[in-house]
Symmetry: C2
Subunit: 110 residues, 2 copies
Amino acid sequence: MYHIKSRIWIEGEEGVFLGEGRIKVLKAIMVEGSLSKAAKSLGMSYKKAWNLVDSINKNASNPVIITNTGGSGGGGTEITAYGVKMITAFENINKNCWDFLDQQLKELQL
Amino acid sequence: MYHIKSRIWIEGEEGVFLGEGRIKVLKAIMVEGSLSKAAKSLGMSYKKAWNLVDSINKNASNPVIITNTGGSGGGGTEITAYGVKMITAFENINKNCWDFLDQQLKELQL
DNA sequence: AAGCGTTGTTTCCTGCAAGATATAACGAAA
DNA sequence: TTTCGTTATATCTTGCAGGAAACAACGCTT
């Protein structure tokens, strides 16, 4: 009958640190090896992707992303071990939240 | 350090049934007794408030809102007992969700 | 039957988020 | 030192969500 949905996000000092969109970009970076390729693979403008990554860097307690500008291939960006840990943590919490909410709605038996 | 936030909403057959914005409108209607006054009290355009109420009606399993058009005072709208029940149910789930997420984040001890 | 303040609906307008575009800086490799 | 594909950033443009405004319909009260 009814179903329940949610969006969660984690904030740091200056704004949003992680959310679903940022997670998507991070995962695409892990696959593609660069921000520009990641943006392209997601059908997202480079600017938007860059803004997301910028906000991640501004709000992270520890480095999540290492960017290398210039060099043979032009550079690229990679995700730190801390970043990988945060991705999986976020996805776990998100999954748990969904399960929790489904349970909550079921208990109401509307 | 980090803190976690969320938005939840309940969907029906055709779209969103309840969310934070719709709850706000419903509660304002309960106080004000009419949709137009409720919109004004929230600093929201009548059209936006009407759209929210319309989507509630389209997706509710049972009547939530009774509108009376015309009459001495011009009419007005009131919330059914079912509507009141849904409001408190939503707010409970929302509160529980916040607590749950805070707990989840704390368990990570970042 | 006239007046009133609602609900309900349409049309027009505008601000702004987001895309598109352009360009500088970078540094390894050849 | 030239080339290359990045990162980083500024500027311009545009689509559209949302507000503003206008108006019809309604029905109780007087």
